[in-house]
Subunit: 273 residues, 2 copies
Amino acid sequence: MPVPCLPSESKPAAGDEAFAATRTAIREGRYTGHTSGLAADRVQGNLVILPQAWALDFLRYCQANRKPCPVLAVSEPGDPRLPTLGAGIDIRSDVPRYRVWRHGELVDEPTDIGGLWRDDLVSFVIGCSFSFEQALLDGGIPLRHVQQGRNVAMYRTSIATVPAGPFGGPLVVSMRPLKAAAAIQAVQITARLPEVHGAPVHLGDPALIGIADLSRPDYGDAVEVMADELPVFWACGVTPQAALARARPEFCITHAPGAMLITDLTNPQLAAR
Amino acid sequence: MPVPCLPSESKPAAGDEAFAATRTAIREGRYTGHTSGLAADRVQGNLVILPQAWALDFLRYCQANRKPCPVLAVSEPGDPRLPTLGAGIDIRSDVPRYRVWRHGELVDEPTDIGGLWRDDLVSFVIGCSFSFEQALLDGGIPLRHVQQGRNVAMYRTSIATVPAGPFGGPLVVSMRPLKAAAAIQAVQITARLPEVHGAPVHLGDPALIGIADLSRPDYGDAVEVMADELPVFWACGVTPQAALARARPEFCITHAPGAMLITDLTNPQLAAR
C-alpha cells in the first residue's frame, strides 16, 4: 500500500528557480525518485486516479473525512490536466513514479501512465503533510523525525472513518512528539491549514485511539517520545490509500510512496486561498 | 431561483431548548416559513438534491469552488439521512419548504418530498452565511442589513467559477459595508470559518469585480455604504443555485428561499471540527 508522504531523508533542497527544471525532469522521466525537499516552497499532493464509476463514492468519502482526505483538486473525467493546481500540469507524466493497481493488487510501477490513460479516468489530488510540516518548522516547532532524517510514524487507530459506498475503514494518523507549549502552538498553526489535514485529531494517551504501542508504528519509522512531551496525532493521507486498498477497485493509479505531484501552488498560497 | 440565506427579518430568536420542538414542528409540516433566528446556535444549510447521474459533476463543481460552495455533507445515493449533521435528520421532511425543479423550471413548492423520493437521489448540504454572520456579530462587528432588518445585498460578478461538467457561471457575492478596522477583523474571523464561505473574496472598488452599481443588487436588498466604509464581498451560496439554474438538470430539489435545513451541529462545533 502506498505511503503518501514520506518527509525527510533524501533530496537536497531546491529553491524556486529550480521548479521549472524539476517539473521538466520529472515529465521527461529523468527524475523518478522521492520529492521531499524538491521545489520545497511548492505544495505537493497525493494522487489517486479512479474510473468515473468509482469517482462519486470516493469524492463523497473524501468530503465526509476532510481531515485525512483534504481534496486539493479533482479533474474532469478523461482530462489529464489539473488547471487549478498549475496551468501546465499533465497528470500522465508529472509524477515521478506511479503505482498501478488492479482489484487491489499492485501490478506495475511505471514513470509515465500515458499508455494507460482512459476517457473515464478522474484524478484526485489530496493535500499532504509536507505543507503543514513546513509551517510548523517555520513557526519554530522542532520535528524529531525531520531532525533524525526518518519517516514520520503512522498508526492505524480505532477511529472509524465515515464510510461512503465501498470506501471506509480506520483513520490512520501520523504522530509527532511535542512539549505542551509547542503542541498548543502546533494546534493553532495547523488549524489554519485545513487543506493539509488541519488541526490534530488527538494528543496524549495513544490507547484512547486504539494505539497499543507507539514504538511499533504501522507505517514509517518510530521516534522516541520524551518524558516531558505529548504525542500529537494528525489525520494522515494514508487513510484514503487504506480505504482504496480495502475497496479494491478494478483499476486505480496512485503515486508511488514519497513520489508526489509537485503543484505550481506555493505553501503560502495554500494557506490563504 | 432560490435565494439560500436570507438572514433577518422574520422570526423571534429561539434558544437551545427549542431545538427539538422546532425540528418536530418542521417535520410535521406545522412550521413552513423562514428559519432565520430559529434555533439560532445551530448550523443551517442550503439544500440541493440531484439524481446520482448529476452528483459527481456537482460535487466536483463544489470542490473546485469551495468558497461559494462549502459542502457540509453529502448523502449516500437514495438515503434520506445525513448522519454527520444529525442522527435523526430525514431530508424528506426536515426542511420547512422545498422547491422542485424540472429541466430548470420551478414546478412545485411542497413542505415534504416523501412522495418524490427516488433511490438515485443524492442530497448536498452547503454551508450558509447565517453561521459566519453570527460569528461577526459575536466579534462585535456591526452588520447594517441585520440592524435594518433587510436581506443581505447580493451581486453577480465578473469572476467566473471553475466549471465542472455542466456546472459553471459567475461567482455571486454578498456585500457588507464595514469600516477598515472592522473589515480587517472580519477577514480574520471569517477566514477561520472555511465551511461557511471563509474569508472575503474582495473589498473596495466594486467595479473591479464587475459590479456596476451597489445600489442595485441582483438579489436581496440594497444597503448604504458610508463614506468611511469599504464594501466587503464574500462568496455566496446563491452561486451554486445559479449554476444549477444554468445546468438545468432534468430533476432537482432545493430548499425554498430562507427555509433552510437546521442541523444538529452548533456554530462553535462547526468552527472547530
